[in-house]
């Protein structure tokens, strides 16, 4: 009975805190994406910038580690039994990637474009009590080459 009460409290806490943090994060992401929208970040090696106009280029990167709440982890655990799309992890990955790209852009102040952008994800920590891996934190790293133009 005590276990059940603890479990249900954690579920409620996880749901409330998790969805609050998620809404807040999405608001912040949307606002910063609008702010950075004119800095192109593309996967191609060039972004319509003539080679002669580039002054210098260097590596920029951004990373973000996002954790999932108790409620969503429980839901994912249930999903593991039956298989199918793990919807409760979707926002986790989405937020981590977009946050990483935004931080990469913040690293490239004054650049004309970021080219060759790559995004990678990996799980952090998450060694369960039995030593097996259970996803708890997700890290997304975004990196690319920032191009800075010559002064005219």
């Amino acid at each position: 009975m005590t276990n059940l009460i603890i479990f249900l409290s954690l579920m409620v806490l996880g749901y409330l805190a998790g969805s609050w943090a998620e809404r807040r994060h999405y608001r912040s992401i949307a606002q910063r994406e609008a702010q950075w929208i004119h800095l192109p970040a593309v996967t191609l090696p060039q972004a319509g910038i003539a080679p002669g106009t580039v002054d210098h280029a260097h590596l920029v990167s951004g990373s973000a580690v996002i954790s999932i709440d108790y409620f969503k982890r429980f839901l994912a655990g249930l999903r593991n039994l039956f298989g199918g799309t793990v919807r409760s992890y979707e926002t986790l990955i989405d937020r981590a990637r977009r946050e990483a790209v935004l931080r990469m852009k913040a690293d490239a102040v004054g650049a004309a474009a970021i080219v060759n952008v790559r995004i990678e994800t990996s799980t952090i920590g998450g060694h369960g009590k039995r030593g097996n891996k259970s996803t708890t934190c997700l890290e997304a790293v975004a990196y690319g080459t920032a191009l800075y133009l010559k002064d005219r």
């Binding site: 009975m1 479990f7 108790y70 799309t85 919807r87 039995r130």
Partner: protein
């Protein structure tokens, strides 16, 4: 190639469907699986319970009983209780067990049947008993659980279910905690039918031992004021609510029960002697 800045209107990476709906569907699936397992296992356990030998049972009982704070064998009330049980068994109960009554120091009003013919009587119950007939009925009731093998069925179901849940979810997952919590609630004791059958066995024992079945309902008539589960409690306590139980016992027991035909409690069981 021209770069066009664009901010997506829709987020295609996140499903729009409700998380609560997903939770509901998944939990329903889980419950359906568990219910199926439970039904199948119930049948298997019933089959096994009827075939276990009393010797094997005694070993199971030995594994379970040390958890209780048992009153020593040389306690006079304990010995007296054992003598009463022996007399009842010699004359009226023909089962392949040698019933061993153990008095447990505990203020709660209860008695249990444990594997191996062990009947645990809590002192809280013994202190409230007033006639030998009441006590004989309680012992007869517990013997009835052995006659119907209820104690093995209950233990078997709880064990197998725990085992399956542990295999499916692992020893310490949050799912496991949820399921064991819920199961503990559902498997708290014997079912209502089992209790009623044991009551009937107890009545038969009384009838055989004293020639009448008086005193059976006396004990339960005393309980309501103190620990009647009431309207909400009956789910949590598996014994049928006392009022229902009393009326059922009354309808089955002898009609003319004058107080003089009840036997007084043996001297050695009365508290403080």
């Amino acid at each position: 190639m021209k770069y066009t800045p664009r901010q997506g209107e829709t987020n295609f990476n996140v499903s729009p469907s409700s998380i609560w709906r997903e939770l509901f569907v998944l939990l329903a699936g889980l419950l359906a699986i568990l219910a199926g397992l439970y039904l199948v296992m119930g049948l298997v356990v019933d089959l096994v319970a009827e075939r276990l030998s009393p010797e094997f049972e005694a070993r199971l009982g030995a594994a379970v009983s040390p958890r209780f704070h048992v009153v020593g064998q040389d306690d006079s009330r304990q010995r007296c209780l054992q003598q009463l049980a022996d007399r009842i068994q010699d004359r009226c109960v023909h089962l392949p067990y040698h019933f061993k009554v153990q008095l447990v120091e505990d203020p709660r009003i209860n008695a249990f049947a444990l594997p191996g013919g062990i009947i645990m009587v809590l002192t809280g119950l013994l202190d409230r008993v007033e006639t030998e007939n009441e006590l004989a009925f309680i012992l007869g009731h517990e013997m009835g659980h052995f006659a119907n093998r209820d104690h093995l069925r209950r233990m078997g179901r709880t064990l197998v279910l725990l085992a399956v849940v542990t295999i499916v979810f692992g020893p310490d997952s949050s799912l496991n905690n949820l399921v064991t919590g819920a199961m503990g609630l559902a498997e708290l004791g014997f079912s209502r039918q089992q209790e009623t059958a044991a009551d009937q066995f107890g009545l038969k024992v009384l009838k055989c031992f004293y020639g009448n079945s008086c005193g059976a309902d006396d004990f339960f008539a005393k309980i309501p004021k103190e620990s009647d589960p009431g309207r909400f409690g009956h789910y949590f306590s598996s014994h049928p609510e006392n009022r229902r139980r009393i009326s059922h016992l009354r309808s089955l027991s002898s009609s003319d029960c004058r107080p003089e035909i009840l036997k007084p409690l043996p001297e050695c069981i009365v508290k403080g002697k």
